[in-house]
Amino acid sequence: MIRDTGLGSRIWRIAVWAVTILFVLNLLAMIVSVVTNSFATRWLGTWLPVAYTTRWYFSAWEEFQLHDILIVTFQVVFTVVVVSGLLGVLAAYAMARRDFAGKRLAMLVFLLPLLVPPITYGIPLATVLYQLNLAGTFWGVVLANLVPTVPFVVLVMIPFIEQIDPRIEAAARVFGASTPQLFGRILFPLLLPGMLAAMLLVLVRTIAMFELTFLTAGPTSQTLVVALYYAVFAAGVRAGQSIDAMAVIYMVATLIWLVLALRFVNPTQIVARAKQQSAH
C-alpha cells in the first residue's frame, strides 16, 4: 500500500471524503425526510414536525387501496420471479455448458434489453401488447417485466454455472443419474445460492420497475410503484403525509428483499451485472 504524506495529498484526501460524506448525508436525509413526514401531524416551516402520529398509514391504506395494490404487486412480482428464474437458469445452463453456433448472437440478444432503457422499448412493447389486448391485464404486466429480468437471470447465472465442475455432472451420469435426477440432486443444490441471489435481485428490481409497469398496467394491474407515481403526480389532492406513508410502505416492501439479497451478493453485483461479458 502506498501512503502519500504530503500536504497536497492530505487536502485532496479530505476533499474526496468530504464529497462522499456530503453525498451520503444528503441521500440519507432525503430518505429520513420521507419517513419523518409520514409520521408528522403538521410540518410547516419548522425543522421537525409539531407532533407525531401513525394515522396517515391508516388513511393511506384506505385511500390508495393499498391492500389490493400490494396483493397485485406481489402476484406480479412472484410470477415474474418464477418465470424468469425458470427460463433464465435453463438458458444460462445451455450458454455456460455448450459452445454452439450463434452463441454470440444469443448473448447479444440477452444483453440488449439490459442496455436499452425500458422507456425506449417500453412504448413499442406496450403498442404490441395493446394490439393483442394484453395491455392493462395482469399477464401484460408480467410479460413486459420479463424483458429485463430473463436476461438478467441469464447473465447472473452464467458465471455461477461455469464455476461448477462439469466432471461432477459426468460422475453423476456414470453412476446412472437421469437428466431430472441430475438437475434435481446435483445441479439444483449446487446452484441454489446463485439462484436465490439472482431471484432476489429480480424481485427487488421488479418491485422498483416503474416504466414498463406504468406503460402496460391498467387500473386493476397497478403495482405499488405505479400507484405511488400517480399519488405524487396528483399531489395536492391528498395530504402529503399520506403519500409519504405510502412511500414508506413501498420502501419497506423493497428493502426487506434488498437486505435478504445482500446476504448472498456483493452490492456491486446489483449494478455491475454483466462484468464478465461487457469487460472483455
Binding site: W12, R13, S33, A101, P151, V204, L228, V232, I243, L258
Partner: protein
C-alpha cells in the same frame, strides 16, 4: 420377403446417418442441452426484438403524410425536436459529473477494508427507484425542506432557493440515482487493477498525480467508456423524475415525455414509435461515438503478472 434384409440394412444405414448427424451436431455444440436456451431466447425475441421491429415498421406508417411523415413531423416541430436538446442538456452534464466524482472516490474506497457499508448505502437509491427519489427530493429540496433550511441556517443563503419543479430538481434526482450506479461500476473496474503496477510506478519515483494519469487512467479508460455509455443511456431515458420533480411542460420536457404523450394522450402510436426510435437512435449514436473512441485505447490485461 427377400427384400427384408435389405430394408434392415437401409434402416440401419439411416440409423447410422441419424447417429452421425447427432454426433456431428453435438460436436458443434448442438444437442438437447443447447435447446434449453430456446424458451428464454424466444421470450426475448417475442417481447423485445419483435416489438422493436414492429415499432420501427409502425413509425413509417404515419397517420398522415408519406413514409417519413412522422420523422418529418418530429424534426419540423420545435415542440418535439427540442426535446432531444432538452434531454441532452440534462443527461450529458449529469453523466460527466457522475464520472468525475466517481473516479477519485472509487480510487479512495478501493483502499478501504470495509467497503460494504458504503456500497450498501449507495445501492439504496438504485433499488428504491426514481419515483421514490423524486418524492423524497420534493420534500427534501423544497422551499421548507432540510436542504434549504440548512443552507439558510449556515448563512449561505438569505432565502430559499428553488430546486424543485425545474431543471435542478431533475438534475439532483439524476445525480442521486445515477452516481451510485456510476460509482459502483467504476469501483469494480478500479479494484480490478493490480496494485503492484502502481507500486512499481511509485518505486520509480512517480508522484500520485503521475501514477494516476500515466498508470491508472489508461487502464480504466476503456472501462470508464463503458460506464459512461451505461450511465448516459440511463440518464437519457429519464422519465418519472422529469415529470414529478421537473417542469414537464417546459425546461424538462424530455424526449420520453414527448413519446409518452404521443402514445397515451394523443393515441398516435405511430408517432410515439417514431419518437422512441429517435430516442434509441440518439442513444446509439452517442454510445457508438464513445465506443469508437474506446477502440483507440489500450485494451489488455490489467494484472501485473506476465502473460
Amino acid at each position: 420377403m427377400s427384400s427384408a434384409p435389405l430394408d434392415g440394412m437401409v434402416a440401419a444405414a439411416g440409423l447410422d446417418e441419424r447417429v452421425a448427424l447427432r454426433t456431428r451436431l453435438a460436436a458443434r455444440g448442438l444437442d438437447g442441452t443447447t435447446l434449453f436456451v430456446l424458451p428464454a431466447l424466444l421470450a426475448i425475441l417475442a417481447l423485445f426484438v419483435y416489438p422493436f421491429l414492429y415499432g420501427l415498421a409502425l413509425s413509417f406508417r404515419p397517420k398522415a403524410g408519406g413514409v417519413l411523415g412522422n420523422y418529418a413531423h418530429f424534426f419540423s416541430d420545435p415542440f418535439l425536436y427540442d426535446t432531444i436538446w432538452t434531454t441532452l442538456r440534462l443527461a450529458m452534464p449529469v453523466t460527466i459529473l457522475n464520472l468525475v466524482l466517481a473516479v477519485p472516490i472509487a480510487m479512495r474506497v478501493r483502499l478501504m477494508r470495509r467497503q460494504r457499508l458504503l456500497t450498501t448505502i449507495l445501492v439504496l437509491p438504485v433499488t428504491l427507484g426514481t419515483v421514490l427519489v423524486a418524492e423524497g427530493l420534493l420534500n427534501y429540496l423544497g422551499p421548507q425542506g432540510w436542504f434549504n433550511r440548512t443552507l439558510i441556517w449556515a448563512g449561505l443563503l438569505s432565502g430559499p432557493v428553488k430546486l424543485t419543479n425545474n431543471y435542478w430538481g431533475v438534475f439532483a434526482s439524476l445525480l442521486i440515482t445515477g452516481f451510485p450506479f456510476t460509482f459502483l461500476l467504476t469501483l469494480s473496474y478500479v479494484t480490478g487493477i493490480d496494485p503492484a503496477l502502481e507500486q512499481a510506478g511509485a518505486v520509480h519515483g512517480a508522484s500520485a498525480r503521475q501514477r494516476f494519469t500515466r498508470i491508472i487512467l489508461p487502464l480504466i479508460l476503456p472501462g470508464l467508456a463503458i460506464t459512461f455509455c451505461l450511465s448516459f443511456v440511463q440518464a437519457f431515458a429519464v422519465f418519472p423524475s422529469a415529470v414529478l420533480l421537473g417542469a414537464p411542460a417546459g425546461p424538462t420536457r424530455v424526449i420520453s415525455i414527448a413519446a409518452y404523450q404521443a402514445a397515451f394522450e394523443e393515441y398516435d402510436y405511430s408517432l410515439a414509435s417514431a419518437i422512441a426510435m429517435v430516442m434509441g437512435a440518439v442513444q446509439l449514436a452517442i454510445v457508438a461515438a464513445v465506443l469508437g473512441a474506446r477502440g483507440m485505447l489500450y485494451r489488455g490485461p490489467v494484472g501485473g503478472t506476465k502473460g
